[in-house]
């Protein structure tokens, strides 16, 4: 990069970091940074400071009912969301995608409808966990990735005082117990454990009591 464009960049860097620059100026400056490590490093530092300052934001309680209005809004968008589920990256090392990432949010989330195309973890199989009477207990998901895991969400965790085991069953009938939980583990409604990648092919997940009786089952597909 020539000295002239570095000086130009320096001149606008603060404005860029605080989100003051409009297009096409901001793209032009970001393009310079993408090819100029020293300007990029400088920008990262200043952007980091701007982001850090947000921790000093004064807290103000939103109007009553805010939480339920947010949840209702998300619920209304659930169909679109669940359609993207299987390709949704659950856990992402997305530094590469954020190169030039001034304001993280702006870069990663610039436009609504962007979907996460990175796939460090994708849902391989999932199913509703149902009790023998058919009532739902929660969901089970087998998540592929560098470290495959099974993620269990329990709809309304209740304290029965008992520990239960999570068992995955492969198509050939072989069953593997991958872990166990008690109420305290799932009080927040979520439980997970790492599994071997071969178990991503499991067709059934069973919740088994200490005496071996099956408390609930999920068909995974």
């Amino acid at each position: 990069m020539n000295v002239e464009s570095c000086a130009d960049f320096e001149d606008h860097m603060e404005a860029l970091a605080i989100g003051e620059m409009a297009e096409p100026e901001s793209s032009r400056l970001l393009a310079h940074a993408a090819n100029c490590p020293s300007c990029q490093a400088h920008l990262d530092t200043v952007s980091g400071l701007v982001d850090s300052m947000l921790q000093l934001t004064p807290r103000v309680e939103p109007p009553p009912g805010f939480e339920s209005r947010v949840l209702a809004r998300l619920h209304a968008g659930t169909r679109a969301h669940s359609a993207r589920w299987r390709s949704l990256a659950i856990v992402v090392a997305c530094t590469a995608a954020l190169v030039g990432g001034v304001a993280l949010g702006r870069t990663a989330l610039g436009r609504d409808g962007d979907s996460a195309s990175l796939s460090a973890g994708t849902v391989a199989r999932s199913g509703i966990i149902a009790r023998p009477d058919g009532s739902p207990l929660g969901n089970a998901r087998l998540v592929a990735g560098p470290q495959p895991f099974v993620l269990v969400t329990i709809d309304n965790p209740k304290d029965s005082g008992a520990e239960v085991w999570c068992e995955l069953v492969l198509a050939d009938g072989q069953s593997v117990t991958v872990g166990s939980w008690g109420y305290d583990d799932v009080a927040g409604g979520v439980w997970a454990t790492g599994i071997e990648s071969g178990l991503l092919a499991a067709v059934t997940m069973r919740v088994v009591a200490a005496d071996g009786s099956v408390l609930a089952t999920a068909t995974l597909d």
């Binding site: 856990v91 954020l98 790492g194």
Partner: protein, 220 residues
Amino acid sequence: MNRYESRPEKDCENLSELSERTISVLRTPDRHDRLPDDALLTAVALGDTDATAVFVRRFQSRVYGLAITITSDRALSEDIAQSTFERAWRHGATYDSRRASVGTWLLTICRNLAIDAIRVRRPVPVDPWTIGEMLAYDPDAPVVNDPADGAIQSDHVGRLRRALAALPAEQRRAVVLATIGGRTTTEIGLLEGVGVPTAKTRLRNGLLRLRAALESEVER
């Protein structure tokens, strides 16, 4: 029955820090601890309703607080705050714990939305209450730890407050207005009764000093 405990591969290089920590926290029999922010966000991104409710409760006063600070408009702020949570829910998977805390990530989303909203609706009057609140830093005041923040984060916030308090007043105002206030350097110039170049210089010098102060605190 073939029972065994699966052991996570300890040496898996590609394992993202977040998934590792999420899994280990969820596995940990350390019971009544609340889910940490990043594990909670993972559950939110997976569409878990209970986790989402907890997530909203945990962050709503900060998100709404930032929106109202930038816009001074209650109805608009509620909409911005709602949109912030919607984006977190849709895009939680893009969160990278190596770059920022969940709180900072969320507030960055909120800030961008608020700035976009006011750029359309300018001019926004400066609310002396919020700006005054933002600037009310007493360097000698004890740092009050918010129990909602983790110990590490509170420590970081304390350092940031001290570093900010040590800035010359005009630089501190420029930094606060530009970041938490979402103001442009042009607006800062107008508010402060100085030209844009002066406002820019104050912001630049303020950020440089802030960085130097934070770095020297780390070395101590």
